[in-house]
């Protein structure tokens, strides 16, 4: 392509990107206006600049508590998923026993089902029979389970690419199966750990449906649920609501700006399942 053509294409792409981002510009701009001003002039820059919308939103959503709950669930889910997922992936990659093949096959088959299939039974069992509503650890447990097949699938595939001679060398040096995994294999899994972690973390952080079925009290709500509650239960506080939406975006956006390469890779890794 000629230089002029490239320049034209650059300008076109830039214009498209700006159009793409318009909803975010409108959102950010209006969080600094009183609600009345937003209704009258949603496109103009703020005339009566205010930060009050943020204090209102933080208060109404119980923002700090919701942020803590979301981080708590996400971090624990990611850590357990990584530990259990990578160990099982390694085990299935190295020990081709019949049981393992059957279990792994079942894991794979279950990846096809949408969450809606598990939704009602999970509520019935864990909220109903065990009475574990509003228990953050319960949500962690379910999130770990729902993300396991995908994680094991990726960890197993990656481990199979690591030569088994490494295991044998470690065994000759006196390492058992467990030590070989933690000392030799796990450090080599770093790239795939990043991919799986990003994918699971994004899914759990942004999850609304599953967590909303279990977390209904104010002190257990995650960000997505707190935002939903705020926007459904308060009418006409439009500017604070938009401030709330922006507050909900900011933590993820900060991570994205730091590790965009890994995040894009990790999120798209979801498309390889199946």
């Amino acid at each position: 392509m000629s230089k002029t053509k490239k320049k034209i294409l650059f300008v076109i792409t830039l214009v498209v990107l700006i159009i793409f981002m318009v909803p975010f510009f409108i959102l950010v701009n209006n969080t600094f206006k009183p609600t009345g001003e937003f209704i009258k002039t949603p496109f103009a820059l703020p005339k009566n600049f205010t930060l009050e919308n943020y204090t209102v939103a933080i208060d109404r959503m119980n923002f700090w508590k919701a942020l803590y709950n979301t981080a708590f669930i996400t971090v624990l889910t990611v850590v357990f998923n990584m530990l259990v997922g990578s160990m099982t992936g390694y085990f299935f990659a190295r020990k081709k026993w019949k049981v393992n093949k059957i279990v792994f096959g079942s894991f794979l088959a279950s990846m096809v089902a949408p969450f809606q299939v598990y939704m009602i039974p999970l509520v019935r069992i864990y909220a109903g029979k065990f009475g574990l509503s509003n228990n953050l650890l319960m949500v962690v447990y379910i999130a770990v389970g729902l993300n396991l097949p995908f994680a094991v699938f990726l960890y197993k595939g990656f481990t199979e690419g690591i030569p088994e001679e490494l295991d044998e060398a470690a065994r000759i040096d006196g390492c058992g199966f467990t030590r070989t995994f933690f000392r030799i294999i796990m450090p080599l899994l770093k790239p795939i750990i990043i991919t799986v972690t990003v994918f699971v973390a994004m899914g759990v952080w942004n999850d609304y449906l599953m967590s909303s079925l279990f977390l209904t009290k104010t002190h257990t709500k995650t960000l997505a649920i707190a935002i939903k509650t705020f926007l459904t239960n308060h009418s006409a506080e439009y500017s604070p609501m938009m401030a709330g939406l922006l507050l909900g975006i900011l933590p993820m956006l900060a991570f994205y700006l730091i590790g965009q390469k890994y995040i894009i890779e990790g999120v798209v890794a979801g498309s390889v399942k199946g």
Binding site: A113, P114, V117, Y118, M119, I120, L146, V152, K228, G248
Partner: protein, 295 residues
């Protein structure tokens, strides 16, 4: 004999440490709920009644005779059809632009992907404000009738709004998959085509498109199954309204189960969705495997 026995004990130990935790968690969160869910579909359980009666296949029959579910199904098909076409088209064009050697490629990639790091609930609400207040103000100021009232209060326009917002989000996601395909197209092939006098459009049609068949298949099937499972945005953008005109399948299942408290029927609807998504996934595996063999 003793050595074999020792090895067996050791293997059981390894299984207990490495295989059992995952198997137990998976069984309790995925397998048992799945089987239990199938049992629920044969009952009239409503979450409150103490005695649960078996009703045979009645819940399944009701799924297909319930006109609101059938409507939700067709609405989902329409929504999926337009969203898949729009998001794949935009995603592919963006990928072409971003891999053409222009400046700031990774900046554009990051920018277009941004909606995908934000949850559907938040995105839906942002657009809710756009459609309800920003667009109406704009419409009134320029005197365009169809933009002066909120799209979300008009059945057809609300569905179009849903399609627009979903395509807006998903095109950046599909773009990344198309980029992966396009960067694998050998440079020599493109150069050879240009030397032979092919136009930019011809190169896309005759060289790039045939070589990224696999990415295209992944993108199309992925977008189909994602649109069929769409829930968050449906909830925050239209909440199924106006007058339940934009209830998609996943949203309908939620309503049946947790608003009408008809768990048996809701679960039967969920099983129907499961069958649809499973068929899409199997077709995907079939087509992408075939694609691999050809290369």
């Amino acid at each position: 004999m003793a050595k074999n026995f020792g090895k067996k004990i050791k293997n059981i130990g390894i299984f207990a440490g490495f295989g059992l935790p995952a198997t137990i968690i998976w069984a309790s969160v995925v397998l048992i709920p799945f089987i239990y869910g199938i049992w629920i579909t044969f009952t009239d359980w409503n979450g409150l009644a103490i005695d649960i009666n078996y009703v045979g296949v009645q819940n399944y029959l009701e799924v297909f005779t319930d006109s609101t579910f059938v409507t939700a199904f067709f609405k989902t098909v329409i929504y999926a059809f337009f969203t898949v076409i729009a998001s794949n088209l935009v995603g592919f064009l963006l990928a072409l632009a971003v891999t053409s050697g222009i400046k700031g490629q990774s900046f554009f990639r990051t920018g277009f992907f941004t909606p995908n790091i934000i949850g559907g609930i938040i995105l839906g609400y942002i657009w809710n404000f756009i459609f309800s207040y920003a667009l109406t103000t704009f419409g009134k100021s320029i005197g365009v009738e169809w933009m002066s009232t909120s799209w979300l209060t008009h059945p057809t326009r609300a569905l179009i709004a849903l399609i627009i917002v979903s395509s807006w989000q998903m095109s950046g996601y599909l773009m990344v998959i198309y980029i992966a395909g396009l960067t694998n197209v050998p440079k020599e092939l493109l150069e050879a085509a240009y030397v032979d006098g092919a136009s930019g459009f011809q190169v896309v049609r005759r060289v790039k498109l045939p070589l990224i068949k696999n990415s295209t298949a992944i993108c199309i099937f992925l977008s189909i199954s994602r649109t069929f499972m769409s829930f968050d945005m449906n909830l925050s953008l239209t909440a199924g309204g106006p007058y339940k005109s934009t209830e998609l399948i996943a949203y309908k299942i939620y309503q049946t189960a947790f608003t009408s408290m008809e768990f048996g029927k809701g679960q039967a609807q969920a099983i129907v969705l499961f069958v649809i998504v499973a068929i899409i996934s199997l077709l995907q595996v079939y087509f992408t495997r075939k694609g691999v063999d050809e290369q």
